[in-house]
């Protein structure tokens, strides 16, 4: 029955594409998480009244973040072609999409991280200082754990944006479900393939959202 509804869908290709999409998503989510937290911490710590208060550095980081967020993703991929080629030696395939995916979403996530860190009770930071904590201890034992539910729900939102970015990256030949929908579906007028790819992506998004909500809830003891 399914083969009647989706005559042109080849499951082998679907699974390969799904794997590629998940591969790009996982690695870019990980990269975004690390880079975003670094940038977010830098934004937070250099802000006025915080541990590394530094107006100049804060403005520099903030403008880097704002500028890269302003570039449309599809253009960012093109802009990053030379960089991608330089570090990976190729501009095709799932790996080639990773730099653009991470550079494109880390600044967005960094802002979410900054918001999460701002929510951490100033009194708790003061208490840690009064106990004689080093800045490193305050970052790793106070700031990050206390903002973790916000960091997790932030990365969930970002991950979902990343899944749609991976589909867009398909247009430049990165592989994945977006690529399949475009090449096999749209170009060959096989609407059933487009629909099947959509369903797969929606399911992946749902799973990510569910996982994110679940983890965030588990670790929130407020």
């Amino acid at each position: 029955m399914l083969s009647n509804l989706f005559p042109n869908v080849e499951m082998d290709k679907m699974w390969v594409a799904t794997y590629e999409t998940l591969y790009m998503t996982f690695i870019s989510v990980f990269g975004t998480f690390v880079l975003g937290i670094l940038l977010g911490l830098l934004l937070y710590l250099t802000a006025k009244g915080n541990l590394w208060q530094n107006q100049t550095l804060n403005s520099i980081v903030a403008s880097v973040v704002n500028v890269s967020r302003a570039i449309p993703f599809i253009i960012l991929i093109l802009l990053l072609f030379p960089f991608t080629d330089f570090i990976l030696g190729t501009i095709r395939g799932p790996n080639a999409a990773l730099p653009a995916l991470i550079v494109g979403s880390a600044p967005f996530y960094a802002r979410l991280v900054e918001i999460g860190l701002k929510e951490v009770d100033k009194g708790v930071i003061e208490a840690a200082k009064a106990m004689g904590a080093k800045t490193r201890t305050i970052i790793f034992k106070v700031l990050l754990p206390e903002s973790m539910p916000a960091l997790i729900s932030g990365i969930t939102v970002t991950a979902i944006a990343l899944i749609s970015y991976t589909a867009m990256a398909g247009v430049i030949g990165a592989g994945g479900l977006g690529d399949l929908a475009y090449m096999e579906g749209f170009q060959r007028r096989n609407n059933d393939v487009v629909l099947a790819c959509t369903i797969f992506i929606v399911v992946i998004v749902f799973i990510f959202q569910f996982l994110g909500d679940w983890i965030s809830k588990r670790i929130d003891h407020r």
Binding site: G123, A130, M131, G132, K134, T137, E146, M148, H221, R222
Partner: protein, 342 residues
């Protein structure tokens, strides 16, 4: 133990300089419970933050155990802070950590190995009366229990000084008393010096040995709690003392007795320490041919003994009243005449 000399702190805002703490000098003895009282904005919170340098002083010295806190390097300051406990109005616990983990936090900071931490943490949790709640999260505790965790945490590195920043201001009166009792017991058990900031006179009365009254960044009055209570000098202190006995000092209500023309004398008696336990009034009425009319009275217990005030009217012959007065004064009770016999 702690000697504070000409300590000042000013904050610069865009268009003005605010003198939060202004030339404060204090001496605090080892084992003292030292209270600093003032209305909000008096600079008392800034003052306590200067002691462990959460705020850097603009001027002055803080000598703690012979060590000048103001000329420590950053890393020396961190080590010194580990020996100063601090508790806060809003407890400032980490919600992401259990009671056990919160109490263990200062030990982690001080680099105590994990194996040694356990017995210390459990001991502290027991000391503050939270045995069995080790695995609870702060959100599962009441306000009083949270402050107990705060106290356990502040004691973890075996400090010599405990700073309390409005530690009971967010608690209801009953819980406040429980926490104050706990502070007194650790003060005695551990010979811990406690510096306590509050706006509640009740707190000073209940546990402090010595008190300083702050107003607009300066200390307007300081000394033994009993002395300050007995003879408040500044207006602010008088207002605070009156908080304790709201009806006291409202001489207006005694007008009827004060303005009457009969042979009577209205006096205010101050009882301090042991005197507060004397049966003075029944003594007087037995020994002298006189009628005693009690108008108003109250008694307030403090750490250094009780103190009370009593308004009475003596009715009788002027000569008898005079000898009564002499007798009363000879017992050491202070007398203030409100209305003289005609």
């Amino acid at each position: 133990m702690i000697s504070i000399k000409q300590l000042s702190k000013s904050f610069k805002t865009k268009d003005q300089t605010v003198q939060a703490v202004d030339n404060v000098s204090l001496n605090i003895e080892k084992g003292d419970i030292f209270g600093v009282i003032g209305y909000s904005g008096a600079g008392k919170s800034t003052f306590v933050r200067l002691i462990n340098r959460l705020e850097d002083p603009t001027d002055g010295e803080i000598i703690l155990n012979g060590q000048d806190m103001t000329d420590l390097s950053k890393s020396q300051l961190r080590l010194e802070r580990q020996k100063i406990g601090m508790i806060f109005q809003h407890f400032n616990l980490l919600w992401s950590r259990t009671v056990y983990e919160n109490v263990a936090f200062p030990l982690e900071i001080a680099g105590v190995p994990k194996a040694e931490r356990e017995s210390q943490v459990l001991e502290l949790i027991e000391l503050v009366g939270l045995k069995g709640r080790e695995q609870s999260y702060p959100s599962q505790l009441s306000g009083g229990q949270k402050q107990r965790v705060g106290i356990a945490r502040s004691l973890a590195n075996d400090p010599k000084v405990l700073l309390c920043d409005e530690a009971t201001s967010a608690l209801d009166p009953e819980t406040t008393d429980d926490i104050l009792d706990l502070l007194v017991s650790i003060n005695e058990k551990l010979d811990l010096t406690i510096i306590l900031i509050t706006h509640e006179m009740h707190v000073i009365q209940k546990i402090c040995h010595r008190v300083a009254v702050m107003e607009q960044g300066t200390v307007v009055e300081q000394g033994d709690v009993l002395d300050v209570f007995m003879n408040p000098q500044s207006k602010t202190t008088k207002r605070f003392v009156q908080q304790l006995n709201p009806q006291e000092g409202s001489v207006d209500e005694l007008k009827e007795f004060i303005t009457s023309d009969d042979h009577s004398e209205v006096v205010k008696l101050h009882f301090v320490g042991h005197n507060a336990k004397r049966a003075l009034i029944s003594d007087v009425s037995k020994q002298f041919d006189i009628n005693v009319n009690i108008l108003q009275g109250s008694i307030s217990p403090t750490q250094e003994g009780a103190y009370g005030t009593l308004y009475v009217e003596f009715q009788g012959e002027p000569e008898t009243i005079e000898s009564v007065m002499n007798y009363v004064m000879s017992t050491g009770v202070e007398v203030e005449v409100i209305k003289h016999v005609e």
